[in-house]
Amino acid sequence: MNRGVPIERLLRWRHGQAEADAPPAPSAEHLLELARGWWERWPERFRAQLMRLRQMPLAYGYAMSPSERDRRGHPVPTLVADAEDVETYTRVTYINVREARFRMRFQVEGAAIRPHHAFDAIFVSDASESPLCAALAVRSHADEYRVDVDLPGHLVESWGALRVTDQMPFRMILRPTDAL
């Protein structure tokens, strides 16, 4: 006698049980409030940070030779929004877009920036007053931060072609998650 229950049937059964036990759906208004990013909750501060970030030169303080730039990539102007806003640069060490999933690793330069477990990373451009996208950047080994996020559709093609040695089409605002 076949005494086995297929895994699929067992999981589907448990899935059905969970559906029956689901708590009430949250209201749309509640979800919309939760979904607001900090840049929407404090738009004036975001605008001030955006202006400050745009004033940073693309390679301020970096007297890199072309070969070094080719090897290490261009520094990305970055504002770390901690207790006070600190201008710095980040170095992209890995970048990849696959199936609309954006994966990036970067290092924050500057000894004055204390490490955090994670940053809320906002990607901005010179051409838009709104963030291009937002992602959680989690610290991993070697003081790198790792981003792994679904990319908005309009960015998939252009960001998909990026290499770490390219000049990045964004600047970043990093806000420690414990400051949110």
Binding site: M1, V5, H15, A18, A35
Partner: protein, 218 residues
């Protein structure tokens, strides 16, 4: 959507495409969002329950999934497969959450080659219970409760990644090749993960579980 073209049917009966178009608008249509959330909440919560093996975390994950969808709402494709989209978002967030706590466990890559050798195709993908049950819902209520506790215990014992691939394979019906493409792994690697997860489930569904499902003392 213009007022002229707005359908007269109740909003709860609107197809996803209409609801998504209304949510993409600025400001978003709150009623349309309520209808869409209601339509997908239970299935999303159930998926999150299997992924997290924890009802409270499942609720948080489902809520965060909607937040992530709403933050990208202007890019929503009204003609896309929203069910698959929201499932993928939930899985991706779950992967983010579990990544920091993930450690090299029983499914570490370096162990996979030997696992391939240990498990033959003939092992199938079944779990042994005392009786061959054609309908688990036909079990007496108390046995359903016991079985559910067993399933939850077993799922909680798996790694987050193992739960993810099981959900993709058996709830979404994705092939190992499709999962591999999505995760950037080979089909063989995914197959090995699934086999190892099944083996762990089998091991954890030990004699005590079988006893509980026949209603006897463990």
């Amino acid at each position: 959507m213009s007022d002229d073209s707005r359908p007269s049917s109740p909003i709860t009966e609107w197809p996803d495409a209409w609801l998504l178009a209304a949510i993409r608008a600025e400001p978003p249509d709150v009623s349309a969002l309520d209808a869409l959330v209601a339509r997908y909440w239970t299935s999303l919560y159930a998926r999150c329950t299997l992924l997290t093996a924890n009802s409270e975390t499942a609720s948080d994950l489902a809520q965060e999934t909607w937040c992530r969808v709403l933050r990208a709402r202007r890019g929503l494709d009204p003609h896309g497969n929203f069910s698959a989209y929201i499932a993928r978002i939930a899985t991706n967030i779950w992967r983010d959450w579990s990544r920091s706590s993930r450690r090299a466990g029983p499914l570490a890559d370096h162990r996979l080659a030997s696992l391939d050798a240990e498990l033959g195709v003939g092992d199938g993908d079944t779990v042994l219970l005392r009786d061959a049950l054609s309908d688990l819902d036909a079990l007496p209520p108390e046995e359903q409760v016991a079985l559910r506790l067993d399933v939850d215990r077993v799922l909680a014992g798996l790694s987050p990644r193992a739960r993810e691939v099981l959900v993709s394979r058996y709830i979404d019906g994705e092939s190992a090749a499709e999962i591999g493409t999505r995760l950037g792994r080979t089909e063989q690697t995914i197959t090995s993960w699934i086999r190892e997860a099944i083996r762990e489930i089998r091991q954890q569904f030990g004699p005590s579980s079988a006893a509980r499902t026949r209603g006897g003392a463990p």
